[in-house]
Amino acid sequence: MWGDPLLIVFISVCTAFLGEGLTWILVYRTEKYQKLKVEVERQSKKLEKRKEAHGDSLDKQHKKKIEREEERLKNNNRDLSLVKMKSMFAIGFAFTALLSMFNNIFDGRVVAKLPFHPISWIQGLSHRNLPGDDFTDCSFIFLYILCTMSIRQNIQKLLGFAPSRAASQQGGALFATPPAQFK
């Protein structure tokens, strides 16, 4: 009973380390990425402080300064995503192949018993390729996704590869607002 779920946790730890290792080789250790990352973090923190200090003021000069910094940060963020993108594609292909291999190995096998009834739009995933109507039966893919969700992010954080809060907050805010040229 313990074998399959623990094997899936092990697989997901291995793939998380493999993914991070590959990303380190292709992206994190490159000088360009490191420079951009430091720059984005510095700018994000600066922008956050500036917004806190002058957020509500109607001073045009401050507003212009903030807008200019936002624009610079947006460009750097875009460059950072571009640097990451190439390796993400390579890793994406490798992982799709790996995943389909594991999918074939565990095809039609109930790997765990869920202690709850999943809601209908998750049942397609949690009961994928499984026989019978017992929706508490869990397929490989569902457990693997859950493991990856928790393990990968924690490993990224432990190794210090996760983006800083300031950067992701500013990045999120920037991506949420439409670019100026399309307004």
Partner: protein, 128 residues
């Protein structure tokens, strides 16, 4: 020279992690670095998710009740830790919502994994 620097770095790191532990475990600590406090909350949440998952699997708790109890307990523990134990002004961290959602999804996924594994291992024999 480099080894000296490295060992200095190492001792600094252990010192900082020690002081973070001390700060996290003693009440009313000062948190000048916001990220440090949010990190403490993040890792606390992960530990809480795994511990609750183990407990829920051993008991065993089942169904929506187990899920809801986890969400409520998780939020309540963090709320009490932040506002009663450390007396932190939540507005400094972008409001209680920001603190409540810090690391929630990861902790929830970790909880589901440990809950499912424990439940399968201890109570799933008859049905698997």
């Amino acid at each position: 020279m480099t080894t000296k620097n490295r060992s200095l770095d190492g001792s600094n790191k252990t010192k900082t992690s020690e002081s973070i532990w001390k700060k996290a475990l003693s009440s009313d600590s000062e948190w000048p670095d916001k990220d440090e406090f949010l990190d403490v909350i993040y890792w606390m949440r992960q530990a809480l998710g795994i511990i609750l998952g183990l407990c829920w699997g051993i008991l065993p708790l089942k169904g929506l009740f187990g899920l809801l109890l986890f969400v409520v307990l998780n939020a309540a523990v963090i709320y009490i830790y932040v506002s009663n134990f450390h007396n932190v002004d939540e507005e400094e961290f972008g409001g209680m919502w920001e603190i409540t959602k810090e690391g929630f999804m990861t902790s929830f996924a970790g909880f589901l994994v440990t809950w499912t594994i424990m439940y399968t291992g201890l109570h799933g024999n008859s049905s698997l």
